[in-house]
Symmetry: C2
Subunit: 209 residues, 2 copies
């Protein structure tokens, strides 16, 4: 099984490779990709070997082929659909952020308990009452969820997501979710992140002074 960190870096490499492809670059060496990704050359090579793609010592890696290999690895050929639950400021921003970015991976429905927020189209995405999550998720074959509700509601909403057949959750709520095995949760805790920044920024200054 491949590690979470590696999958994250592969996603990053692909994005960087797309930039190179647009620039017309045909080949790239591990150390070049490493410099762009903020990694080491050996790490890049190890990660790419995990995908089963090997470079040559004379040309390094072929950009186009590598993008294709990463696509085979990272993307579902049939495409994957996500639901967003919690249409607040953050939820709306995320809808616009992911709107139409990837054909293979898109948010196709949004949900909220507030009747005033449902029955619309937000950034090309229809909004529904939370009650209908299960029905809509099964109908649209949604297996991924983005959770942008307040912390207090997070656990119970996450549980209904799981009941609706969702197997992966991107959790923005600042609350650890207790989920059954087989459900993958990735936490994005902005408060924690900002506090880390504050702590280490201060620490750096203490050390310097």
């Amino acid at each position: 099984m491949i590690s979470q960190k590696t999958v994250g870096r592969l996603s990053l490499y692909r994005r960087l490779l797309n930039v190179l492809a647009v620039q017309g670059t045909k080949n790239v060496y591990s150390h070049q990709l490493a410099a762009m990704a903020g990694a080491t050359a050996a790490q890049v090579r190890r990660d790419l070997m995990a995908v089963g793609y090997m470079g040559t010592s004379i040309r390094g890696y072929a950009v186009d082929e590598l993008i294709k290999s990463l696509g085979t690895f990272l993307d579902d050929p049939q495409g994957q659909s996500a639901a967003l639950v919690g249409i607040g400021n953050l939820g709306r921003a995320i809808l616009s952020y992911f709107s139409g970015r990837r054909p293979n991976l898109s948010i196709v429905a949004a949900f909220d308990v507030d009747p005033g927020k449902v029955g619309r189209v937000i950034n090309g995405c229809r909004s529904y009452p939370l009650d209908e999550l299960e029905t809509v998720a099964r109908e649209l074959d949604i297996r991924l969820g983005v959770l942008t509700v307040p912390a207090a509601a997070a656990q119970s909403v996450a549980e209904s997501m799981v009941r609706a057949g969702i197997r992966g959750i991107l959790n923005f709520a600042p609350a650890p979710l207790k989920m059954p095995t087989g459900v993958y949760v990735e936490d994005i805790d902005m408060t924690m992140s900002l506090e880390k920044v504050a702590y280490f920024a201060r620490q750096g200054e203490l050390i310097r002074s």
Copy 2:
């Protein structure tokens, strides 16, 4: 030097402890806190020892004192101010997210290159032209930055943040920043996170089926 992971968990523990304090809980055992945080009891104890706070075998940890200890550790007594650069959908959502949450750590100014977005007050936060970053940052003693600009602009904007005296950056732009030592960067890459969720959710289904 304390690790990034530990600092992150301490931030989480404090939030959980605040919930307990509101409920009127006086004491808490490491295994209780661990269950809430999704960690192990030994890990909680180790983390708290890092702050220099030790529990007793009979009562565990005193909630109020622990919150105070964590505050001493995590917060700057003088308070820390942050600037947000990039007033798009995401930037606005983040301004509202952090608005008035912590007295000791708040976003006090927002910046953008678009003249149409500046000279206003957004969620209690004044917006300025990006040109004025250096002046305003020094005037308001801003040392932290939140970066919510498009990937293409991220590196150059981050460099002007550093010139303005900013020493910690919460980076939402999907681009690795090359920063001088002494500047701490915490990346929140939502695209990468969503792709990880998509990958592991699919993987789980493959394993099950």
